[in-house]
Subunit: 397 residues, 2 copies
């Protein structure tokens, strides 16, 4: 009676494994600035709660496997406004962006197949790859050029006969990088040339700070047949706990396969879809106000990080993350130490160690990811704490 | 650019694939008695909606991957009352019973491994087996003995070196059979003897009509280390759309593996867990009233089925399903015909064809599953329609 190989292969979440130490620090009375997880402090819009109060039917029944029609219509309208012509019939509502990624992997890859991913990457891609018994093949990006793409040849050199797809995530978690139109075009070109799918994770679409909408993979009509877009309400509307996402594709075979996978799990949560319908009615003012707030936080946190001697980081162009190279050699230990040993005036800061965002062994060990999901003042204080902590950590021995 | 083998292997839901015909029949003005899907008409208790109205926090944030503490506590108390001593730390909240089954498969089986299942079985087991690339090995039960277990040797003859687990589902979907204490004991004994896990799907626990609580696999302490219990609020509280289930196990390795799988998908829906806490406060009166209602329906539907010449069925002991052998040779076609061709006074009935509940090719082709999820009067009328339909169908040619 053994565990499966997958059960052994799947690592504890590098973001969540610090939880026990966090609890202890809290019990000891420390205040912790949590920059370790992409959980925004911004309130979920009231429209969501209002729908839950007023619109639920007396029997909370199974909905359609592809999601309730009003919500698929709302998501379709949202896409159309952005110039991305997904019809409701091309949109599959999923249990978070998480399930959308998993279903995409299931639909396009066999056990043992390969999917190219740029590292550092959203750690849960690895979890879903384990679910689906698929191998993620990393293409390493560099802090020094702001985690932008390497030359196409370098990406193409990773393609084997087992390669089925490239994952594009822009604006990026964990780097905050927004790929330029040219970069997304390069990925589209590689996918077409080598007959690959592109899984395009666009959940941070509204979080870009140069005033332009980030380029969607759907800007390239020549890859509409091989593009699978992943989306979610979690970050856009600060509704992470709702677990409502979607997968959209113009490839009818992929759509039908994903629908069949979806039928096995019956449906996404009904009530939270009804709440989500109302979120998509909020419009541009809402997005603008949230974007402005995050931009302010980014500017504050970046300015403070520049004050830490020996730190390497790049002004993030989007999302609400920044990868930071520290002048220490074991960020895993440092992240623990912040909770167990460090405090200043009863306060400390929680960060996500970088290694968990890399597939290549040894990469990211001197990096951390910060999520600027607290108000600007708190971000400032947290980064100042980080500065003190780095100095104190280096002076330890 | 091909679809994966799994995308090809996963069949459309046999229950949901009649949907387009249903829509057409509806558009044509037919009233349809839906006995094809286990979607109860009973109202979700008000306590659930009240929690959603009153208790949600301003930020609908990620919860713990294993579920929120108040809900795990509530589920633990529920189990303890039943004499099943699961602590909150042994309970993992999942996105429906669906995810609990999938995580169980992932944790205990490698791609290509085998899991023994009694057929007819809950069709979605097959979907999750495809997700996990695991083979379900069917042990066929017979309508003639009420879908009870065959001799142990027959079950044991299916065990190979690739067998990792046996699925026990009692009260059963789709047969309505409740395994006796002896039968569950036989399965426990086989599991222990052959070093297998038992995945015990007990979501219909309260739906048993002989006045006794069905025997849980946890009644057998000798298999506590190898038992994985699947549970859900969907049927118990008529909250199918909430997508809240749980997996419980006293095997710490399995629990930790499932927790790691759960971390990849972050968490189950937060709001609906808060609603579910209140459901577990309802107590025995609630269960008794629901049970009485279903027993009334069962009695009505069974009495009417007995009036159909050539029908073979067995009084179901639990759940709210019955497998019915009809005097026709293609229940798939019959189920379609009910929607496309048949009506009486503008009404027809929708049933689930039996073949989809079997892994063995050719089995169940003359069977249907009925879910008695409508009020007794409607069940009666629906079954009378079925009688007319069978007669008319047989007289067609």
């Amino acid at each position: 009676m053994e565990l499966s190989k997958r059960a052994v292969a799947i690592p504890p979440s590098p973001i969540r494994k610090l939880l026990p130490l966090e609890l202890k620090a809290r019990e000891a009375g420390k205040h912790i600035y949590k920059l370790n997880i992409g959980q925004p402090d911004i309130e979920t819009p009231q429209a969501f709660f209002q729908a839950l109060r007023e619109e639920l039917p007396p029997v909370l029944a199974y909905g359609p496997s592809q999601g309730i029609a009003p919500f698929r219509n709302a998501v379709s309208e949202y896409y159309q406004k952005l110039g991305i012509p997904f019809s409701p019939e091309e949109i599959m509502i999923t249990t978070g962006g998480s399930e959308a990624i998993f279903f995409a992997f299931l639909a396009i890859a066999n056990p043992g197949d390969e999917i190219i991913v740029f590292e550092p990457y959203y750690t849960n891609y690895f979890g879903f790859a384990v679910y689906a018994d698929v191998n993620l093949v990393p293409c390493t990006l560099k802090a020094e050029n702001g985690f932008h793409l390497p030359p196409a040849e370098q990406i193409e050199s990773l393609i084997t006969e087992k390669t089925k797809a490239i994952i594009c995530c822009s604006p990026n978690n964990p780097t905050g990088t927004v790929f330029t139109r040219e970069e997304v075009g390069v990925l589209a070109g590689i996918a077409k040339k080598h007959d690959l799918y592109v899984v395009s994770d666009e959940v941070y679409r509204e979080f870009a700070y140069d005033g332009e909408m980030p380029t969607s993979i759907m800007a390239f009509e020549e890859v509409w047949d091989r593009a699978i877009v992943i989306d979610s309400i979690s970050k856009r509307f600060s509704a992470c706990g709702a677990r409502i996402g979607n997968l959209a594709t113009k490839n009818p075979q992929v759509y039908q396969a994903v629908l069949r996978f979806g039928q096995a799990r019956l449906c996404p949560a009904t009530a939270e879809q009804m709440g989500a319908v109302s979120l998509y009615k909020l419009g541009d003012d809402y997005y603008a106000s949230v974007r402005d707030e995050y931009m302010k936080r980014r500017d504050v946190i970046f300015r403070e990080l520049e004050n830490i001697p020996g730190v390497v980081c790049h002004m993030p162009e989007g999302a609400f993350y920044i990868m930071v190279k520290l002048p220490i050699d074991n960020a895993d230990h440092f992240a623990e130490w912040l909770l167990t040993d460090f405090s200043h005036e009863g306060e400390t800061v929680m960060v996500a160690p970088g290694a968990g965002f890399y597939a290549t062994k040894g990469m990211g060990e001197d990096e951390i990811r910060l999520a600027y999901v607290l108000e600007a003042d708190q971000c400032k204080r947290a980064t100042q704490l980080l500065k003190m902590a780095v100095e104190q950590y280096l002076a330890r021995s």
